[in-house]
Every structure is written in structure tokens, then in C-alpha cells.
């Protein structure tokens, strides 16, 4: 394919030296490096995928790099978000990332957008002259938003996604091939697919996928090689296997097969039935926010367990979280199992569904807890839809994190 733009910027003597390993390759050359300097790339997220992306694109001499993030650096980010460091814990991710990028390469410009990406601001931000957008987000609503806004504005979207030991890479470019929606017309319902925060991720995996996204961005900008348009790479780190599948443009795609002017950005949280970011006020309709869930504190849990009260304490976290820390004496049933059982029973199925719930008596007082209190509140809502009495169920405020803070200071937090 041809390069995305024909702009060329001048290189100083120092810059020619800095980029000499690029410039001596015929595929890049002086012209290619001047083109990279005149290029602009917008990164959505400066976390796992965004860290290697920002570092390598800065080092490669992309002249203008935009960062969209609203978060602050947390100690637990450092397992994979290598652009940040202990010295920047507590700072905004934008300031932390920008300082590291400019230390690596002061010749570039970093543009910071300190806000969550939303349907209200996406077209303004994406419209500020970006040649390529790179999607390094962590949730479905934002992924659909990035896709739709890119298609509408005709910008290629370099997609990367990760889960545990598995990664996906593609280039969604409605002008020349399929978009994200051609492959994934609808998101999975909330609860069926855990997030990285719930499911975990190998810390190196975003490095692998993020550097491949950076490679695709450079290829698009230089117009060299075969970009991943119409293809998706599936990477399995445990097997160290790479498999490429074909993605075709859906002639009925509601986004990339209609006139760009007709593409309207949606309420993606509604579309996906889940919040897009921590600051969101979205609540999905069938989850806990629609009903009044009673609460108890971790001190109530402690005394109920100690006094042998007629209370069943249920831990609805995932099994691997139980190994990190757990309260002794709890019944353990993961929230996705409760949700699936509820869905199944409502659809008239029984076999597996009733097995899952048979350990939870309907006549007993139930205290439900998770890590912080969200999944357990949802679980109470699900149980209330299949015959459990709301008056007998209590959500443990603050979950096991509160237990670690208030009852057992030696318990590890995650």
C-alpha cells in the first residue's frame, strides 16, 4: 500500500545521527524518516499496551504523539506498564509517560488529553489531525467507540487486545478493509467475559502485542510491507504460537459499509451493557444498581463467622483470586457461574444451573463478598431474580480489600 500521507519534515544533523539505523535501511531511508517526523499517532491508553507503544514510537521519531488517559500510576501497574516507574506512582499517567518519552526523544511533541474517551469528545480528539489511531484500551465500550470514530473520520485503527496469555492484533481501516464490527458485530454480554482486572494478564504480553501494534503503525505511515488489514493475528504465549485468520468486510456492516456521514456515535456503555471506565456512572439494567441491596461490614462478617451465626458467607470471586487471599469459612462460587445459572434458569434450563446453586440455601441469611463489593452486589441481584429473598441477602461493603484493611492487615491486597 502507499504511505498514508506525503508530508516530509526536515531532520537536523543530530536527528540524522539519532535515526541512523533507520536511515541506512532502503525501506526507510531519509525520506521515510522525514515522513515519520511529519507523522502523528494517537494512542488511546498509556497502560499495558500503551507503554511499549509510546516508548517505541517516541524512539522511532514519530513527530507528534497524542496520549488519551485519565488515570494515575498505581503501584500494581508496574508489573506490565513499563513506561511508568516507582518515582511516578501517584502522578497522572499522561505526565509520567510524557516525561519518559521526552527523556528518550526530546525532538518529538507529546499532546496530552487528560480525559476518558467518550462519544462526546471522541470526534474532537480524533479530529485533531492524527494519521493513525492505536487502540490500547481495556474495555468493550471504548473499543467500539474507537472503531466507529475511526471509520467515520477515515483513520486507520491499529488494534491490539490481550487476555491472560493470549493476544490479538489487526488493523481496522474502513477505507481499505473490514472494521472491528465486521469481526465482532456485538459485544459479549457483561459477565460472560472477564476483564483483565478480573482475569489477569501476563505482564510481558502487552509488551509483545504493543510492540507489534507499533510495527503496524510504522508500516502504515511508511507505506511498506503488508499491513494487517483484513487479517487478525492470534498469539498464544504459552504455546508460543502465531496463527493468522482472514477477516472480511461485512457488506451489511452498520458502520463501515454505510456513508461515513451517516455513522453516528452511540452510547457505547448502553450498547455493551457495561461501564467504559472507573469514572463512569453507568449501571447495567439488570445489575445491582436497580435494586436496594442491604449491606454489612467486614466486622459483621467476622462476628458472624466467629459466633457461628446461622449465616452463609459466599465469596463470588474467581478461583485464582481465592489463592491470593481468602476468608476462612466461606462458600466459594464465582459470579459468572451465578450469572450463567440465573440466565439458564430464566431460559428454562435446569441441569447444570441448579447444580451450581444447590449449595446456596434459600432460607438462610447470606453475606456475599468479592474483591471490592461490585461483583457481589451484582450476584445478589442475580440471585434475587431466581427466587432468593432480597431481605435475606447482604453485600459485604468493600469486599476482601476492606477485610485486609480492617481485620487482617497481613492479608495481601491485589
Amino acid at each position: 500500500m502507499s504511505a498514508l500521507h506525503s508530508r516530509l519534515a526536515d531532520l537536523s544533523k543530530d536527528e540524522v545521527k539519532r535515526y541512523s539505523r533507520h536511515v541506512i535501511m532502503p525501506e526507510v531511508g531519509m525520506e521515510g524518516q522525514r515522513r515519520l517526523k511529519a507523522s502523528s499517532v494517537l494512542l488511546i491508553g498509556t497502560g499495558g499496551l500503551g507503554s511499549p507503544l509510546a516508548l517505541y514510537l517516541a524512539a522511532a521519531g514519530i513527530g507528534r504523539i497524542g496520549l488519551v488517559d485519565y488515570d494515575v500510576v498505581d503501584f500494581s501497574n508496574l508489573q506490565r506498564q513499563v513506561i511508568h516507574g516507582v518515582s511516578t506512582v501517584g502522578l497522572s499517567k499522561l505526565d509520567s509517560a510524557a516525561a519518559r518519552m521526552l527523556d528518550l526523544n526530546p525532538e518529538i511533541e507529546v499532546v496530552k488529553y487528560n480525559e476518558p474517551l467518550t462519544s462526546e469528545n471522541a470526534l474532537r480528539i480524533f479530529g485533531e489531525d492524527w494519521d493513525v489511531v492505536i487502540d490500547g484500551t481495556d474495555n468493550f465500550p471504548t473499543r467500539y467507540l474507537v472503531n466507529d470514530a475511526c471509520v467515520k473520520l477515515g483513520i486507520p485503527n491499529v488494534y491490539g487486545s490481550i487476555f491472560r496469555f493470549e493476544g490479538q492484533l489487526s488493523v481496522f481501516y474502513g477505507e481499505q478493509g473490514p472494521c472491528y464490527r465486521c469481526m465482532f458485530p456485538e459485544p459479549p454480554p457483561p459477565g460472560l467475559v472477564p476483564s483483565c482486572a478480573e482475569g489477569g494478564v501476563l505482564g510481558i504480553l502487552p509488551g509483545t502485542i504493543g510492540t507489534m501494534q507499533a510495527t503496524e503503525a510504522i508500516k502504515l505511515l511508511l507505506g511498506i510491507g503488508d499491513p494487517m488489514i483484513g487479517r487478525m493475528l492470534l498469539y498464544d504465549a504459552l504455546e508460543m504460537s502465531f496463527h493468522t485468520i482472514k477477516i472480511r468486510k461485512d457488506p451489511a456492516c452498520p458502520v463501515c459499509s454505510v456513508d461515513k456521514a451517516d455513522v453516528a456515535l452511540l452510547d457505547y456503555e448502553q450498547f455493551c451493557g457495561m461501564p467504559a471506565h472507573d469514572h463512569s456512572e453507568f449501571s447495567s439494567v439488570d445489575d445491582a444498581d436497580d435494586i436496594d441491596v442491604q449491606t454489612v461490614t467486614v466486622h459483621d462478617v467476622k462476628s458472624a463467622l466467629e459466633n457461628g451465626d446461622d449465616v452463609l458467607v459466599i465469596d463470588v470471586r474467581d478461583p485464582h483470586e481465592w489463592d491470593i487471599s481468602a476468608i476462612a469459612g466461606t462458600l466459594r462460587i464465582p459470579k459468572p457461574d451465578i450469572q450463567l445459572a440465573k440466565n439458564g434458569i430464566q431460559a428454562g434450563r435446569k441441569l447444570w444451573e441448579e447444580t451450581v446453586l444447590q449449595g446456596i440455601p434459600k432460607d438462610k441469611t447470606l453475606y456475599l463478598h468479592c474483591r471490592s463489593g461490585v461483583r457481589s452486589a451484582d450476584s445478589i441481584a442475580y440471585l434475587s431474580e431466581v427466587g432468593y429473598d432480597l431481605d435475606k441477602m447482604y453485600n459485604v461493603e468493600g469486599g476482601i480489600l476492606a477485610w485486609a484493611d480492617e481485620i487482617d492487615p497481613d492479608m495481601p491486597k491485589y
Binding site: 487486545s161 487476555f163 456485538e186 459479549p188 467475559v193 482472514k246 439458564g344
Partner: protein, 91 residues
Amino acid sequence: MAKIRIPTPLRAFTDGAADIDVAGGTVGEALANLLDQHPELRAHLFNGEELRSFVNIFIGDEDIRFLQGLDTEIDANESLRIIPSIAGGLK
């Protein structure tokens, strides 16, 4: 026997198994055999008799939607894949 590759998010419902041998002459029969072996997968893959729209089944590098869907014939050493929708990246 044909094989079906199970993606990580769904392995919680296959006792952790990544590759499952399945019997059947079509994609639909192979999936039915998979669900006989692991009934908990049903809610994730099907809505009634229809494949859920976010479930992508590939034979080799080709989407069954562009072949004959669930009626696509497969031979005994075919490799099928379920491609999951995953969203992780930032956090």
C-alpha cells in the same frame, strides 16, 4: 477426529482443556459434540439454536460465516477455532 481450539476465556468451562477432539461431519455436528462433552459452554456459544453473534468460528483461516455456516462440512483432521472477543489492554 477433528479438533476445536478453545480460547482462554472459555477454558473455565472445559476443565482447562485447550484442544478438544470432536466427532461430526459438519461444523454444527462438531459443536453439538463439543457441548455434549462440556454442557456449560452452551450458554456462551448459542442462543437457542443460533450461534451467538459475538462467537466467531474459524476453519483454518476462514470464518464459517463465509463458508456454509454450521452446515460447513469438515473432515477428520480439520482444526476449528473459536475466536473470542477480548478487550484487555490498558489496565
